[in-house]
Amino acid sequence: MERMQSVHDLNRIREELRSRPRPDVEIRVCSTGCRALGALDVCRDLESEIAAQGLQGRVRVIRTGCLGLCAGAVAVSIQPGDIFYRGVAPSDVREIVEKTVVGGAVIERLCASGQNGPVANREEVSFFKHQMRRVLSNCGVIDPRSLEDAIAHGAYSALAKVLSGMSPDAVINEVIASGLRGRGGAGFPTGKKWQFCRSAPGHPKYVICNADEGDPGAFMDRALLEGDPHLVIEGMIIGAYAIGANSGVVYVRAEYPIAIEHTELALNQAREAGLLGRNILGSGFDFDIEIRKGAGAFVCGEETALIASVEGKRGMPRPRPPFPAVSGLYGKPTNINNVETWGNVPGIILNGAAAYASVGTAGSKGTKIFALAGKVSNTGLVEVPMGATLRQIVFDVGGGIPRGRKFKAAQMGGPSGGCVPAQFLDLPIDYDSVQKIGAIMGSGGLIVMDEATCMVDIARFFTDFVQKESCGKCVPCRIGTRRMLEILTRITNGQGELEDIDRLQRLGEMIKEASLCGLGQTAPNPVLSTIRYFRDEYVAHIVEKRCPANSCEALITTTCSSACPAHVNVPEYVALIAEGRISEALDVIRRRNPFPSVCGRACHHPCEKFCRRGDLDAPVAIRDLKRFASDHVKEIGHPPVWRGPRRGRVAVIGSGPAGLSAAYFLALMGREVKVFEALDVVGGVLAVGIPGYRLPRRALKRDIEYIRRAGVDIETNHPVRSLHELKEAGFDAVFVAVGAHKGLPLGVPGEDLRGVEDALSFLRRVARGKVKKLRGRVVVVGGGNAAVDSARTALRLGASSVTILYRRTRDEMPAIRDEIEDAIMEGVDMRFLVAPVAILGDGRVHAVRCAEMTLGDADESGRRRPVPTGKEVEVQADYVIVAIGQAPELDFASDDGTLVVSRGRMEAHPVTQRSGEGNVFAGGDVVTGPATIIEAIAAGQRAAQAIDVFLGGTGELPPEVPLASRAKPDESVAQIPRQPVEVVPADVRRGNFDEVLKAYSLQTACTEARRCLRCDLEKQETRRHV
């Protein structure tokens, strides 16, 4: 480009560039971030295909910076029409040219998906729709290697405005008025900082662009320098003019080769064009910029350390004051801002402070760029107004959490920041609000964490990071972080003690107080914030030696086995199925869980949620394989029965999953066990709670028979009235597992009308054959499994319509996802955001009056609270089934002081299940409230071990003898998709109580089982190696 001598030249050139004929079609391909997934191949193939079709000159391929949606790499946008394609591969190129470029048609396969199918227009894609791209407006649009492109899109217009008569003070005042605060993290007002530097005595003065973006998880500065380097350069020139500096430095980390390349190129272009160097645009103002590459030291992001590094020294910080504004680079007044801050400057100058400040919150103006990464669907570069909520960023823009997992926290601000838990999802994010909850805005790294992320491990991770990056100059940071790391490491290894939590807090406060620079002063933040919000995870590691996220290596075997509360050796039995050794597979399951037949059908399978194969395509169908094993082996089989004399008598109250599991393991350990069941059927909730279409009675009977064969004596029709009775009968220990069978009332008028019933009593009556038919309109109140079970049961009994009323929305329903889906398919109507306030009727119910609700801010769990709108509706009903909660019935023991009861539930130690100091143990729903089958089975298993130890035994469960092959799966297994299970069609199944899901065939089961990645072998191998 010619050298421009004046602002007039610049404006003339811009007009010339803009009036040039534009190509018919422009194809923009992200060639920076997406390069790792083949963007340059896509560009090359596009160009050759365009040439082959004779379209040169009419179609332009633009290698742009980041388009934003990194999860959709390679990302492409096409003009006209602003068509957005994601996941483009070289193999798609020909079709794109033929259909879209030539034919103007959209290829739906490559579009982002919306609520109602594919979305072609970029502005309509939810990832973009909820953003406000100001600083990033040219990023992903222009070719960052072309000054012409940049100028045509408005680059250096703000500089032109400044050099056309704005005084330095006027520039500073404009920046002050805009309210811009430093985007590097601390949020100091940028204009003020400039003013200090301008008024500081000394010459020369320097400006520095801090592009040492070292926070793990942050890539905003990288993307901005890669995608629109002239914007940053323009901001620096304006700043230098305002401050009175003639030299500038871009300090960029060496890990960013593309950013360095593009910045270097842009600097050379600007210099040649007269936008940098002597007498910029004929204004008499001299300014030039050089690049300094970092050499890999996180602390160099701290301004005094950065200055030392630019000077060629070790990057060690020094105490402030003096601040760099007074004494910075080479002892001269220096102004340092980060990349994004500089990138905000041209927009402020061009559009004015008022326009800029019209966006944002009271204390934080403008927009903020976030690097969205971690456990979120749409990872990428996001720009939103200050004051946007985490929910908007993570769910609206980010598309939520993959794999149906729950949001746990967002880590903000990197090693200096903290973890923001779900309860703050609706908090408007700005500098001040984030600080209040123990995190910091930081540079904008935002890492989303889900149930599989361990918060203690995250704290350890960041402490490890800062400990390694501590420059070593001051003692609190150098030694304090090391001590913290040691403590955290021992906690994650299962060797922590409860006092460690206090130690960490004390150390953390001390390090914050006494460290020299920002690195040390903020280093404890990740630890302190995780203790503040996730103390229970620390306690689980310490007391239970359990990592709730199934992530800490020392505390887990494989993620699936650890996620299973009963710790069934999943890879072992899955591998045996793959080998066709089905009966041995069943034995392996029964070493830890005597209910393979039940759990193969009705388990909520947490194992699959944590299965690592799920990160590749879909988790192994562990539950279906368990079902297959238990169905395929026709013989019920024989447990490894205790051969010696039985010692120690144990009474188990309740024959549900917890009670029978405890009885089974105790019997295997040689105890004499007697189970007392109040009803005339065995199985508790399994027999009278879960409907037959989910759990056929014969499946339950198989498991019960197996348990009996272990030597368990079960007495039905024997309600236990008091624990005295058992003591007098000579039992040495008691396990209370009576479940939670009392339905909670709504507490509204009209609940005593005929036709109103609680879900548990309804399901029990159906299970006992007391209800054969149901006529009319049934309304079910609630959103849990009991509600969905009742609704589907009512449908099968012939109800003319079944409606579930739930006070929140489908996303918040606690019932198992698949069950909700199945219920809707069968014809259950769901009405959300309604809460009953009265049941109306005249002797008999005829309607439910509901308050209409809306969702407010997050509660403790992160779910949005229902808030009444003030409006009411009436829903007609002939029956109302109330399923809003269950509680244990503890009156059987009211005369006995030995039971420890709190808030209507029994208390028990999480590891031993012991309740109090005596010989009473408790587990299952009576302790936890309504929970899952497998959790109850696990509680029974733990209680059996503890009771055995209490009676003088070892508490050992059946040994895990390895049976399956130790051969690693070959690469071909990656290609096998998850094998579907046959499902009875909705219109057929809604008419009867037959089982809905079919079992795998032998062949399908073996194929599915081969999909297992055998993480168990990997772990053994790594242990051997290192």
Binding site: A36, P257, G294, G312, M316, A373, G445, M449, F461
Partner: protein, 175 residues
């Protein structure tokens, strides 16, 4: 960062290094070309020397010290402060396994385990055939690709242990 990987133990720890360093004449010729003076920026010079020789040979640092009038101990102070300076030669391909937060929460440690297992080396080591040097890095700034590793200038994103293994095998086969 990692100041213990300093003068002696260093990059090739546990792995045999057979490559000879540059001769003094080579070093001098290169530094002549750079035009080193006492006012040159030390970090900039070190980056150029390492760019030329792949690491920072002792004779080059001594020559730098003479020309810049910076004491050798000071130069070593700077060299060992920064993670990206190496005082020992390294393998032909540099593998950087990212351990950034996003990678970490997406299973980077399993990927790193697989790389270590496949190559039979730990972080900071070179394979005996001088083909691969393995290092971990705090964050590559490509969190959207997590978990990610970089081999020389090429990024590999969305890794699983299996994919990482296959990629390393392709390097072995390819060369």
């Amino acid at each position: 960062m990692a100041p213990d990987r300093a003068l002696t133990g260093g990059a090739g720890e546990g792995a045999a290094c057979t490559t000879m360093g540059p001769t003094d004449a080579e070093v001098k010729a290169f530094l002549d070309g750079l035009g080193v003076t006492p006012s040159s920026n030390l970090i900039d010079l070190l980056q150029k020397v390492q760019g030329r020789f792949g690491y920072l040979p002792r004779n080059a640092l001594e020559e730098l010290s003479r020309r810049t009038k910076i004491r050798l101990s000071r130069i070593y102070g700077v060299v060992t402060f920064y993670a990206q300076f190496y005082t020992e030669p390294r393998g032909r391909h540099t593998i950087l396994c990212c351990r950034g937060t996003a990678c970490h929460v997406k299973g980077a440690s399993k990927v790193l385990d697989a790389v270590k297992r496949t190559l039979g080396i730990r972080e900071g080591q070179t394979t005996p055939d001088m083909e691969f040097y393995l290092e971990t890095v705090a964050c590559l700034g490509t969190c959207f690709l997590a978990p990610v590793m970089m081999i020389d200038d090429q990024y590999y994103g969305r890794l699983t242990p299996q994919r990482a293994e296959a990629i390393l095998k392709s390097y072995r086969k390819g060369q």
